[in-house]
Amino acid sequence: MRTVARGRRRGGIVLIAATLAMLASPAVCAEPRQAHYVLGVFPYLPPVRLEQLYAPVARALGETAGVRLSFRTRGSFERFREALAEERFDLVFVQPFDYVRAAAPAGYRPLARWKGRLSALVVTRAEGAPVRALAELRGWRVAMPPPDAAVSILGRALLAERGLAGKVETVHLRNHFACIRQVLAYTAAACVTARSPLRVYRARFGGGLRVIAESRPIPPSLFAAHARVPAGIARKWRAALLSWHESEAGRRLLRGLGFDAFVPANDGEYDVVRAIWREFTEHGKT
């Protein structure tokens, strides 16, 4: 009996010690490591400029979801598409053609898109421009963003629709700002750009530009979350994006990006984009 009683006491002590050890263990005491996600933004502006615009967006979305969300981009559309294909990002802000070409196939699901529509704008100098209408572009040089940019695709489609395919010299530059500078420097008669970068450029460097033509509108760039992102977090991101226009902090972020508001996005909206891309690739409109 005495042996049994001593054994029970020893067992109790071991249990208490084990409990204390568990309580004192780092696993119990340390705060859980914050989940780390990556926001990838397609390189429609220089990376550092994109950082200025989207790092605050990443912070706001990360704080909303209680996660750490870093901003990343790539040096080119091609590399960005490669990163999409490699599923390097958890949340992306991607142009519509890349969405249909790479993001959607890689498992990214639409969350929200810019409220407006995306169209390619053909822009010349407001004064002293060598051409005043799209038809006058024949034989002139037109600057465009990288060939894979949505605007470039839309712009080339527009030129083809107007019978200018192969009649103008197209030159692709690194980003929208570079295109605009070509026009201002008279090294290109016109440039193809989008409304958002044009607005940002005008805000930073002033006017001096005139839009002479606009392509068919398509659903614009969108935020899409990868399927691996927990649904709760993706919902929080979506809710935040859709509500930014309702708060001052949100509006400040939207103003920085050059957007008015985000609206819900779904994959079906981008069928028109898929159609344009299919037509573009099948008929090789350049």
Partner: protein
Amino acid sequence: MKLLPRSLRYRIAATIFALEAVVLTVVIWQTTGFVREATERQIEEMERVTLQILRGPAREALLTEEYDRFQPYIERLLRDPHVVRAVLADGEGRVVAANDARLVGGILPSLEAGEGSYWRAERLANAAGPLGTLAVEFSSAPLARIHAQARNLGIGIGLSGMAVIAVVGVTFGMLLTRRLERVAAAAQAMSRGERGRRSGVRGDDEVGALGAAFDHMAERLEADRRALEEARTALEARVRARTAELERTNRELEGFVSAVSHDLRAPLRAVQGFGEALMEDHAAELSPEARKYLERMHAAAERMGQLIEDLLLLSRVSRSQLERTRVDLSRMAEEVIEELRTAEPGRAVETHIAPGIEAEADPRLLRVVLENLLRNAWKFTRGREPARIELTLEIERGEPCVSVRDNGAGFDPRYAHKLFQPFQRLHSAQEFEGSGIGLSTVQRIVHMHGGRAWAEGREGEGARFCFTLGPRALRLRARPEGEGGD
């Protein structure tokens, strides 16, 4: 120990050298310090600029995760020998680009300064959080080399400057002191008696002014000396002329006195002789009143005879040549006292002559002095019971003097100064006989010996006459072994 010669030139040079050494040290220290600080700031600025140049590409590489585009920047950076390593790490601390391929993929190395190198690092971040770390390891060698160059340059400049200053200081000191030495040499020559020596130093500076002033002073001194010499020569000539005149006058006067005395003695002897003959041969025929007149005439003739004798003595004394020899003054005084006792055996006079007094003096003249003083004491103690006369050797104002003290009639001290004048008497001839020439004779003899004589006394309380005979002329003879005191 004297570290430097006492010459002014070396002192000037040493002072200039020391001052300049201090100033140079401070200036060079400050300058090299400033150069070092400026260089350090420049290097630091260069490092900062390096990091600043790398910051953009590094940020872009971190944002795009395209690290291969950043690699050329790092490799280009290493062309600078100042750079040892360059590393770019992502937000997780993982090296994503480095000049050393072994570091890529590893953990960012410790950024603490190592042996001969140190790190400059910049944490890159944006609103969304940390992006990564750009770190460049710089070699300390260029900074150390610049420090060494600055130090060596400072030491070189300092030593060169101090050498130049030393040469300039010594040269300047020589230039300055060479002229001063000429003034000093002239002064030393003048002190040796070369009165015609001049410095000849001229110029507009202080040394020139000193030389000119010295020469002017020497000229003035020489002129004054010549004037003084001429004045002294003229004075001496005048003194000689006056002395000769005085001597001639004295001789004439003494000759006159001697002649008069001699000439007076003959008729006086006739008066005395005929008076005595009248008294001896015709006394009975004379009335008592006539005899009384005759006696008074005889006494007067006696006094006149004594007066003539004393004048002759004074005259002889004045003309006599001083011949000093050692004289036993105590014995001579004893002899005089003995003569006085013999002359007046009826008088009871207590005398005390201190024994052993010796004098370096003319014995004949000293005898005259003692006779006069002791005879005076003998005379003026007449009527005193007991009469007392003492002769001692005393010290007055550190000088030995012979003192003759008595308890006689004394004198009124107000007239003490008259005692040594000829024919001056403080007592009537009826009271105390005398010619009034004795003390004058005493004083003349004492003066001839280079001494002095003086008198002290009070009326009715005795007198004290003292005299000296010049330096070391009076002393007390050492007593022979076994001779007892009184």
